[in-house]
């Protein structure tokens, strides 16, 4: 009986891992899209995430606005914030700092994150209070499949998240807008040569990514709670998944990598305590990086372009 019980626990953890991992996957898709197309290290993604999750819950709880319109407001606010980051901050900084643009944009993005979290707290709570907002919308009724349990919210979240990734994949592949985005990513010089306005494409990518992140944030809020700092841990997962999967890969592949990461993390709960789970995740990342460094350790190729070469930057 103990074996069966431990198998059941194992499957429970695994299912938990799939639910979490799917979310990680969409985070990676969202973040990875930005880095692959625009090369901005948009750490302030964490704030966009928090704006959608926290703001929506706050609006629902503190004003009469029903859930659906509140979601629209939250998503719109997050999209506006992300677009503003690119158009008002990253673009001018990149222009001023030339070859150091990557570092400077990253540092600025972090500054936005730090300031953003604090400002949200100050403006909404006047600085005091725990600031946790919860959102109830989709019922969390338990579902049992055999001996294993999950909630309906979990199931819906997995379906929706994968559907979003599939939608992105589809539009990148089959729509004109998607084609333009891929064009900018693959060969920026040629994109300009065919008349694509690359600056607008960058902003568009930020908006799309923030909407995807917003979906994850909403489910996060519904499954646990929302606060202004809720984006900090997710942005790390987004980072890890995006780079582990490889920049420029298909959204479906990134989803698979994220889900796998979630399962590994979930199943490791069987063997290590919760505290060490995060260590496992970052240990894996560090290992990945050291391996990549080792691959590049050859005298003739000092700086191996570990990311897919971006072509045609004038």
């Amino acid at each position: 009986m103990t074996t069966l019980a431990s198998i059941t626990t194992f499957i429970d953890f695994a299912i938990d891992g799939v639910v979490n991992g799917s979310a990680y996957g969409l985070m990676g898709v969202s973040f990875g899209l930005i880095v692959a197309v625009t090369t901005r290290f948009h750490f302030a993604w964490a704030i966009g995430y928090a704006i959608c999750g926290f703001f929506t819950a706050y609006v629902v709880n503190h004003s009469g606005i029903p859930v659906l319109p509140a979601i629209v407001i939250g998503m719109a606010a997050a999209a506006l914030f992300s677009a503003a980051c690119e158009a008002l901050v990253y673009r001018p900084i990149a222009a001023r700092t030339g070859s150091n643009a990557l570092l400077a944009v990253f540092v600025a993005s972090f500054g936005i994150t730090i300031a953003g979290q604090a400002l949200i707290r100050l403006l909404v709570f006047g600085g005091t209070g725990a600031g946790n907002e919860s959102l109830t919308w989709i019922a969390e009724s338990p579902i049992r499949i055999g001996d294993v349990g999950l909630t309906s919210l979990d199931l819906i979240s997995v379906v929706v998240v994968w559907a979003c990734a599939a939608a992105l994949w589809g539009s990148l592949r089959y729509t004109g807008m998607g084609r333009r985005i891929r064009a900018v990513e693959v060969n920026t010089g040629m994109a300009k040569a065919v008349g694509i306005r690359t600056e607008r494409a960058y902003v568009l990518v930020f908006v799309i990514a923030s909407l995807l992140a917003g979906v994850v944030a909403l489910f996060d809020t519904m499954r646990s709670a929302a606060n202004p700092e809720m984006g900090l841990t997710p942005v790390f997962y987004a980072f890890v998944v995006a780079f582990a999967a490889g920049l420029g890969r298909s959204p479906l592949w990134i989803m698979a990598v994220g889900t796998a990461l979630g399962v590994v993390e979930g199943v490791s709960a069987e063997f290590v305590s919760v505290k060490w789970q995060q260590v496992v995740v970052f240990g894996l990342l560090l290992l990945l990086l050291v391996v990549r460094a080792g691959q590049a350790w050859r005298p003739d190729i000092f700086r191996r372009p570990a990311l897919r070469a971006r072509v045609g930057e004038s």
């Binding site: 880095v35 290290f41 001018p92 900084i93 001023r96 700092t97 030339g98 070859s99 150091n100 990557l102 570092l103 400077a104 990253f106 540092v107 600025a108 972090f110 500054g111 936005i112 994150t113 730090i114 300031a115 953003g116 979290q117 604090a118 400002l119 707290r121 100050l122 006047g126 600085g127 005091t128 790390f236 980072f239 890890v240 780079f243 305590s273 505290k275 060490w276 995060q278 260590v279 970052f282 240990g283 990342l285 560090l286 990086l289 050291v290 990549r292 460094a293 080792g294 590049a296 350790w297 050859r298 005298p299 003739d300 190729i301 000092f302 700086r303 191996r304 372009p305 570990a306 990311l307």
Partner: protein, 614 residues
């Protein structure tokens, strides 16, 4: 009064963090968002030893610093081979991993941390309990850190760091083994951060993870961004500003501590963004060192005209995040007229060379036999054989895509050949690294010049002088006299090279502000300073006007007469005709013809290949 000492101590500790990070980020150009995490390594090590092993202050401090330094040096190793994007990820992951690990190890107290940490006492003296007692210790450590950072930054060692920051490839190309420098600077910066962490832990009597997390690291970066990257005084200024900001918010505005903490975060986050958008180099730009400020003030007081600190060339030559290419010009046109050469000795017309059908005699210094290299499906070099001889100029010509740059890359170790050998004065250098080959006597210039734009003309050339004692880490720190003497020699030799190319009068100009023609001559002077015998010049005549080309040709001719072995890749066939004694014609990675330029021009097939066949 205690309040003042409290503020001062905190400022001193943060200044230690900021100065050490500045060494890493501002001078060496290596981004680390894990600086506070190294502070955590040092702090927690010391706290553990003190609380759970009963160690006294000084030993705990030393071990803490050592632990941080060692781990920092270890982190440098994968960092060497990672793209800058992965470096960000690496330090980000490290920072989070360290805090996660610390929080998870039960002996370290988890989220609550270790406390109380016994008071610091120096060698059995009084325990330093009150801020006024602790401050002298903090100040003393701060001054030591300032001394270390200043010594390193302003020594030849620091100059190499700046070279790594501005152009790593060019720095390797003049013979510097950057692996050693990177490991050293990571180790030192992390160790000093560890010192800051130890002081912090003893001062606050508690070791808590939250004091060493990512936001703390960003706080330190903010201090540098605001105060001034690559300026140690700026680090102190930045630390002071940020700490006082919080104090002001708390005291003067009489705010609740949690509220003022939030405002502090909001403000310094906003300041980071603002500064990066408006003034990326920070308040105090790189060249505003105390010495420079004093000199400029003296000049101002004496009413002397001339470049003070207000000179645009100095003021905008900022470091850190400012665009290295966008140095302002003080009024001069983009490409001015070349100045007349120094009268001393005068170059005069190159001696007439007899035109013979065979190659002029000369000792073979460099020989490449059967070099092959493929990049994917492209044959960049195919069974390539050539010789470079002492006292001769050899030209490499060929249509686009013929593989000329690949030849240089294969010879200098930028690319390893798939097959074939490269022999330099009898030694097989096929597998050697770029810097080792440069030190062995073969170095090159680059088509895109690659001078160090933020350094002066003199510094550019001085850096290339080999065997400088001051570039050694321990010498720079511990033997200032030897270092200084070596530097004087290096500068003297640099001035000689500058005189050769006619740029001696521009020795103190910022290299990035020079017109392109002078930059090319500067690159040549820098090359000569390496004392390499084999000089590979990549398109020395491209991008410059007739007059500059003349100067370049004179210099090349004179070098040849002095016995150097020179190889030039050129597209301007006039230049090749005038300067080369022997020419190799490259096509699709192979040498298909060789001879004097005149002979080659007479071959119709070559004309076909170059201009196309009918």
């Amino acid at each position: 009064m205690e309040h003042f000492y409290d503020d001062a101590t905190i400022i001193a500790i943060y200044a230690i963090y900021a100065m050490s990070l500045n060494l890493l980020l501002g001078y060496a150009g290596q981004l680390s968002v894990a600086h506070a995490a190294f502070g955590g390594v040092g702090g927690y090590t010391a706290a553990y030893l003190a609380t759970l092993q009963g160690w006294t202050f000084v030993p705990s401090l030393l071990v803490g610093v050592a632990a941080a330094a060692v781990i920092g040096a270890l982190i440098a190793l994968p960092a060497l081979y990672l793209d800058v994007r992965y470096l960000i990820l690496l330090t980000l992951a490290f920072s989070t991993a360290i805090t996660a690990v610390i929080a998870a190890i039960p002996e370290l107290g988890g989220r609550v941390g270790l406390s109380p940490v016994p008071s610091a006492e120096l060698f059995g003296g009084e325990p330093l309990l009150r801020p006024s007692q602790f401050f002298p210790l903090a100040l003393g450590c701060g001054l030591v850190v300032l001394a270390i950072c200043a010594r390193l930054a302003h020594s030849p060692f620091g100059r190499v760091l700046r070279g790594i920051r501005d152009d790593e490839l060019a720095t390797r190309g003049i013979g510097k083994n950057i692996v050693l420098y990177k490991v050293a600077v990571f180790g030192v910066a992390s160790g000093l951060a560890g010192l800051g962490g130890v002081l912090f832990v003893y001062y606050t009597a508690v070791a808590q993870v939250a004091a060493f997390d990512l936001s703390e690291s960003m706080l330190i970066i903010a201090m540098i961004v605001i105060g001034g990257t690559a300026n140690l005084l700026g680090s102190i200024l930045g630390a002071g500003l940020v700490v006082m900001l919080e104090r002001t918010l708390q005291n003067m505005l009489d705010l609740d501590p949690s509220v003022s903490a939030l405002w502090r975060l909001a403000i310094y986050g906003g300041l980071i963004v603002l500064f990066l958008m408006v003034r990326p180099q920070g308040i105090l730009p790189e060249r505003w060192t105390p010495l420079a400020v004093v000199r400029a003030l003296r000049r101002r007081l004496r009413g002397e005209p001339g470049a003070g600190l207000a000179s645009p060339a100095l003021a905008t030559a900022g470091a850190g995040f400012a665009d290295p290419g966008a140095i302002a010009v003080d009024g001069a046109a983009a490409d001015g007229e070349p100045r007349p050469l120094a009268r001393s000795g005068g170059l005069g017309a190159p001696p007439a060379r007899a035109r013979s059908n065979g190659r002029p005699d000369g000792e073979v210094v460099l020989e490449a036999v059967g070099l092959s290299k493929r990049f994917g499906g492209i044959r960049a070099a195919e069974d390539l054989t050539l010789q470079l001889r002492r006292g001769q100029v050899t030209g490499l010509i060929g249509p686009n895509g013929a593989g000329k740059t690949t030849v240089f890359n294969l010879l200098t170790g930028v690319v390893t050949p798939d097959a074939g050998t490269v022999t330099l004065e009898g030694r097989d250098i096929g597998t050697w690294t770029i810097d080792r080959i440069a030190r062995a006597g073969m170095a090159r210039t680059y088509q895109d010049v690659r001078i160090f734009p933020r350094m002066t003309v003199l510094e550019n050339v001085a850096m290339a002088v080999p065997d400088q004692p001051g570039e050694n880490f321990t010498t720079a720190l511990a033997r200032p006299i030897a270092s200084h003497r070596g530097e004087r020699d290096a500068r003297a030799r640099a001035i000689e090279r500058l005189e050769f190319v006619g740029l001696a009068e521009r020795a103190d100009a910022i290299a990035g502000a020079l017109p392109f023609g002078e930059q090319k001559l500067l690159a040549l002077a820098r090359l000569l300073a390496t004392e390499a015998d084999v000089l590979l010049l990549d398109e020395p005549a491209s991008g410059i006007d007739i007059d500059w080309i003349e100067r370049m040709l004179e210099a090349i001719a004179r070098l040849r007469d002095e016995g150097k072995c020179i190889c030039i890749v050129e597209h301007n066939l006039h230049v090749v005709e005038r300067s080369a004694d022997w020419v190799y014609f490259l096509e699709e990675g192979q040498v298909t013809a060789e001879g004097s330029m005149r002979e080659l021009m007479g071959q119709e097939r070559l004309a076909e290949v170059y201009f196309g066949s009918g």
